[in-house]
């Protein structure tokens, strides 16, 4: 690929998704500074390997790279970003009907904290779905899991967030 062509293509297919890249990286790393570094690194990598990209969906392609860069970064830096997910006992079956959330009452600060506290595979799913509006298929492509897994992760993520918002973080099961 000729350098000027490569650059023009990259600028039209990948660069427009910088804001989405930053947002995802910010949620996955938890810090402005780290997100900037990671996005920078991801774009370097993306540009370097741009010859290998033959699709039309630049967004999924770059978001997958950003996501991987985030996790590489997180692992390398041993940041404790992820809330301990030891409450697997939140069973979907037989759970009580949740209380109704009223939008006006949603505490946004609490919601942000609850998102940040989600295990990373739930967090990335809900961010890509609700903030980027991506389809299950796209989310699956980015995160490398089947569509059914995307769906169950979203369901788990929503359940946790809604419980947190309803003031019923399930620890101890007190309702």
């Amino acid at each position: 690929m000729q350098e000027t062509n490569k650059r023009a293509l990259f600028e039209s297919l990948v660069v427009p998704h910088l804001a989405a890249s930053y947002n995802l990286a910010r949620w996955l790393t938890g810090s402005d500074h780290d997100a900037e570094d990671v996005v920078q690194e991801a774009y370097l990598r993306a540009y370097r390997f741009f010859e290998g990209f033959h699709g039309a969906d630049g967004r999924s392609w770059i978001l997958a790279i950003v996501r991987n860069a985030c996790y590489t970064f997180v692992r390398q830096n041993r940041r404790k970003l992820v809330a301990i997910d030891d409450e697997v006992a939140e069973l979907r079956d037989g759970r009580p009907t949740p209380e109704a959330l009223r939008l006006a009452d949603v505490d946004r600060m609490l919601l942000r904290e609850a998102i940040q506290a989600l295990p990373e595979e739930f967090r990335e799913a809900i961010i890509l779905r609700e903030l980027e509006g991506l389809s299950y298929k796209e989310i699956g492509a980015i995160t490398g899991v089947p569509i059914g897994t995307v769906m169950s992760r979203l369901a788990r993520a929503r359940e946790r967030l809604e419980r947190a918002l309803a003031g019923r973080v399930s620890r101890g099961g007190a309702a």
């Binding site: 930053y22 996005v39 370097r48 109704a100 959330l101 919601l111 942000r112």
Partner: protein, 233 residues
């Protein structure tokens, strides 16, 4: 459709990921099941809450990335990525600037410095600190003067590489603008003419004089940048 059957489909329903027949069945179920309806409504409330713009992180108007943020994040994106591409090519070692000139090299260097936040190895407003700092790092001693009195305070210096040559890069400030001055010894027979140009929103002024090549670059307006250049001569 039973409640158990519906439950597992509610997320996909909210996300518009169901086929027509499942979708119709879920809708029918919701009419008769307050519990499932509440789940759907909660998902929708959650979605709406997350539409608040505070949930979408915008790149901060980052000095680290590039300080030419004008208004929206989109502009930032375009500018930042222009710089990011330069860096990408630089690191990959195979970047061919559109025209392989000193001007392009100066622009690349300026963007790299702004973006990495690495503007100065020696940060000082004192010319008697900055000038000696270069001793032993370069094979020449660059002229270093502070112009704080005239509104262009010296901020520091670093050694940079332009087209394979080690050069002195001096940083000045004008209000919130950063001015980079690149200096290296002029080759014999260099021109003494002054070139002014504008590239990607940066003004660049170049001349040879007092035995040095001078390149001045900034996002400062060209009038003030010329005023500053006059002080250097």
């Amino acid at each position: 459709m039973t409640c158990d059957q519906a439950r597992v489909l509610l997320d996909a329903f909210v996300d518009n990921e169901l086929g027509v027949s499942d979708s119709v069945n879920v809708e029918a179920h919701l009419k008769s099941c307050a519990g499932c309806l509440r789940v759907v409504e909660n998902h929708q409330a959650l979605r709406q809450a997350m539409q608040d713009e505070s949930f979408y992180f915008q790149p901060r108007p980052a000095a680290r990335l590039i300080p030419v943020m004008k208004g929206s994040g989109r502009v930032f994106a375009a500018v930042a990525i222009a710089a990011s591409l330069l860096i990408a090519g630089f690191l990959a070692g195979r970047w061919q600037p559109r025209d392989n000139t000193a001007e392009q090299a100066i622009l690349d260097s300026h963007l790299r410095a702004l973006m990495s936040g690495h503007l100065a190895d020696v940060e000082s407003t004192d010319q008697h600190t900055v000038k000696p700092w270069f001793a032993g790092k370069l094979d020449f001693s660059p002229p270093v003067n502070d112009f704080a009195q005239q509104g262009f305070p010296l901020a520091g210096g670093r050694v940079d590489s332009i087209q394979g040559r080690q050069v002195a890069a001096l940083m000045y400030r004008r209000n919130r603008h950063v001015i980079n001055v690149y200096v290296w010894p002029a080759a014999a027979g260099g021109t003494s003419r002054t070139d002014k140009s504008s590239n990607r929103g940066y003004n660049i002024i170049h001349w040879s004089g007092s035995g040095f090549e001078w390149w001045v670059i900034s996002d400062l307006n060209s009038g003030e940048l010329e005023q500053f250049s006059a002080l250097l001569r």
